[in-house]
């Protein structure tokens, strides 16, 4: 487990050229066509890091999350948790190491189970259920996430949205996982509750040395939580960088456009005019070359002909012809 890569980093989660393809029916009698939901993703997540994964609907964020949770095998490529390939891991072992927190605490908790049962289920599934010890364990985790013990025998519909999301957090953490996948953890919650859950997640990460993957379309939340951010577009990570660098000096035109769309509360500014005029392309029929070129403000002639290479930046990488010295305008220096 203490195996480290060449930089001395303890890599807890790694994706090597991971691809997931779905066969989509193109219509009656027309056969099926491939949809590359995730298309050649390379990623290393060191222990203790919070990786933000951002992108529009349909970019493959949720497919990525499902693969990281072991709910969906990759079509090709390999995922590693603690340097063990997930294809060689048992289902239960995977569940012990990687746990999810879902978006909507109203639909992700079984309405017919008590809070105690919901939180205890991951332990019961693992098979080591000593009921008295388990009860104590559940009460400890409830206290940790700020749920009063008296809710043990209550049902989800008796709880507020914030309390429900705390139940989801408790359920994810009771087996002491290594990685927690937070898929839009706060977007179903009110503003005042959202901040409580974000604070809780931050505290727990420090306390339990957790690694988070935060998937969100709310860039302000990602900026606040993440140490590194990966920007996804049509199944590929088009830019990965440390959060500071990404927000201060975005490289990829898509990242720039995304950041321009963030509405910070400032009455002196109007609504930004996003340059992303054309609608999101159909992933079954992606554009040629760089898949972003029809929406790109900096599109050049060869962008529609060849796919960009992966170009290393200070704290990550970017996939864009602009920064390719051989073909682009050589602006990588900026």
């Amino acid at each position: 487990m203490a195996e480290t890569d060449k930089d001395g980093q303890d890599i807890v989660l790694e994706a090597r050229d991971v691809t997931r393809t779905f066969m989509i029916s193109a219509g009656f009698l027309r056969g099926k066509r491939p949809l590359h939901a995730v298309n050649g993703v390379n990623l290393k997540v060191p222990r203790g890091e919070v990786l933000g994964l951002v992108g529009e609907s349909g970019c493959g964020k949720s497919t990525m999350a499902k693969m990281l949770l072991g709910l969906l095998p990759p079509s090709s490529g390999e995922l590693f948790v603690d340097n063990v390939p997930t294809s060689r891991m048992e289902r239960l072992e995977m569940a012990r190491k990687v746990q999810p927190i879902f978006q909507d605490p109203y639909s992700s908790l079984n309405p017919r189970k008590t809070i105690g049962d919901i939180i205890a289920l991951p332990v019961r599934v693992q098979g080591n259920a000593d009921e008295t010890a388990l009860r104590r364990q559940v009460e400890e985790i409830m206290e940790l996430v700020g749920l009063p013990r008296r809710l043990y025998r209550n049902y989800p519909n008796q709880l507020s949205g914030g309390q429900r999301q705390r139940v989801a957090v408790a359920r994810a953490l009771i087996n002491k996982p290594e990685v927690v996948i937070c898929d839009e953890p706060t977007s179903a919650l009110d503003v005042s509750v959202q901040s409580q859950i974000l604070n809780l997640l931050q505290d727990l990460r420090a306390e339990l040395n957790l690694t988070y993957i935060v998937i969100s379309h709310n860039l302000a939340v990602v900026e606040h939580m993440a140490t590194r951010v990966a920007v996804m577009y049509l199944g590929r990570l088009v830019e990965v960088a440390e959060t500071d660098r990404l927000f201060e000096n975005p490289q990829h035109p898509y990242t720039k456009a995304l950041l321009d769309s963030v509405l910070t509360p400032d009455p002196n500014l109007g609504v930004p005019d996003s340059s992303l005029g054309v609608t999101y392309p159909n992933p079954v029929d992606p554009p040629s070359g760089c898949t972003f070129h029809p929406r790109c403000a900096d599109c050049m002639d060869h962008c529609s002909q060849s796919a960009p290479r992966t170009i290393a930046t200070e704290t990550g990488y970017v996939e864009c012809h602009l920064y390719d010295d051989n073909q682009g305008r050589g602006r990588a220096a900026s």
Partner: protein, 341 residues
């Protein structure tokens, strides 16, 4: 954002109250809400779930559930009092002079009718026009809201369009009869940030172009600050603070408004990973009478005097900026500075 063009009053709401009898007693989801909207002006109603913002808009449209009881001293659209008009007259107004854009473009379009059908319906209902004239108007508006190949879209069904396109269709539908007042209830909540910016931009442009009054209901403070001329912050059925966007965002006076603004992470302002502000506790039940300040149980500055009598709206520093709190404006501002330090 207010330029010196036209400022004719289009909607006047005074002491709008909604009561709904429920098993446990009388629910008061909207309590004496007052505001005015002028032509070309955007009023944003902001608040959390259950604060009464959606019911406020539904009661203006007279689309409340049948058990609800609506009262007001004034509820006037373009000078016409709406409280006692017949349902027939209200149906004439709805979709014609006053139109609504709903939150969920997935569920508020009828899946079994084509886009064209649904767009033309309002115009055919309200105006004496031929089918082809209605179709031309639909094509014109679809192009206006940025939909390409508009004529071919008319024969498509809602499921054939993406979420962003459906919301554009909803906007086009609301504009069919050239309304004077438009009410948009969370128009961008279900959409991606990139599409959200486009839709808001579009709404603001169209509103200026057609010189409409607009009420935009949202819980997103970022959206409010960018698009609003005036802001009304609602909490537990009451307006707790109103003013221009600049007044409310730069000098938030009510402790609830201050709390809300501390809760959201702002890139470049809030420290990464640091604790965000939070508002402890939950919204009080609005069944039965609730004496004093509704926010008292969650307020950091609450004292005994907050819990009795009725707290009325009072002036903050600038004219037109009012809030509902026992504290003086400078006391509130002092608290805000202390909170920030």
């Amino acid at each position: 954002m207010t330029d010196g063009t036209e400022h004719e009053l289009i909607l006047k709401v005074e002491n709008l109250t909604v009561d709904i009898p429920v098993a446990a007693g009388m629910l008061h989801p909207v309590q004496a809400v007052s505001f005015e909207v002028r032509r070309g002006e955007t009023l944003c109603i902001v608040g959390e779930s259950g604060c009464g913002k959606s019911l406020t808009s539904l009661s203006i449209m007279n689309l409340l559930p049948s058990t609800a009881i609506r009262t007001a001293t004034h509820l006037a659209l373009d000078g016409e009092e709406l409280q006692n008009v017949s349902e027939n007259r209200m149906a004439d107004i709805r979709g014609d002079k006053m139109a609504m854009i709903f939150q969920e473009p997935m569920t508020s379009l009828n899946p079994s009718y084509t886009i064209g059908n649904q767009l033309e319906e309002a115009l055919l209902r309200h105006r004496k026009v031929s089918k082809s004239e209605a179709r031309d108007r639909a094509v014109y508006l679809l192009e206006k809201v940025g939909i390409t190949a508009a004529r071919s879209r008319l024969t498509q069904y809602p499921h054939q369009l993406s979420g962003g396109l459906r919301q554009r269709v909803m906007i086009a539908m609301a504009l069919m009869c050239g309304p004077e007042m438009i009410i948009a209830d969370e128009p961008t909540t279900a959409l991606d940030v990139t599409i959200q910016a486009q839709i808001l931009h579009l709404l603001a442009d169209l509103q200026k172009e057609f010189n409409m009054g607009m009420i935009l209901i949202t819980h997103d403070l970022g959206v409010v600050s960018r698009i609003a001329d005036r802001v009304a912050v609602m909490y537990a059925g009451q307006v707790v603070e109103t003013g221009t966007a600049k007044q409310v965002f730069e000098n938030p006076t009510h402790p609830y408004t201050q709390g809300l603004l501390e809760c959201i992470p702002i890139p470049g302002k809030t420290e990464r990973g640091a604790h965000l502000g939070s508002i402890p506790g939950i919204v009080p039940s609005l069944v039965g009478d609730l004496p004093g300040c509704h926010f008292a149980d969650r307020c950091r500055y609450a004292a005994d005097r907050c819990r009795t009598g009725e707290i009325t709206l009072r002036d903050s520093f600038d004219p037109g900026h009012v809030y509902r709190c026992v504290l003086q404006p400078d006391e509130c501002a002092a608290h805000l500075k202390k909170g920030a330090a």
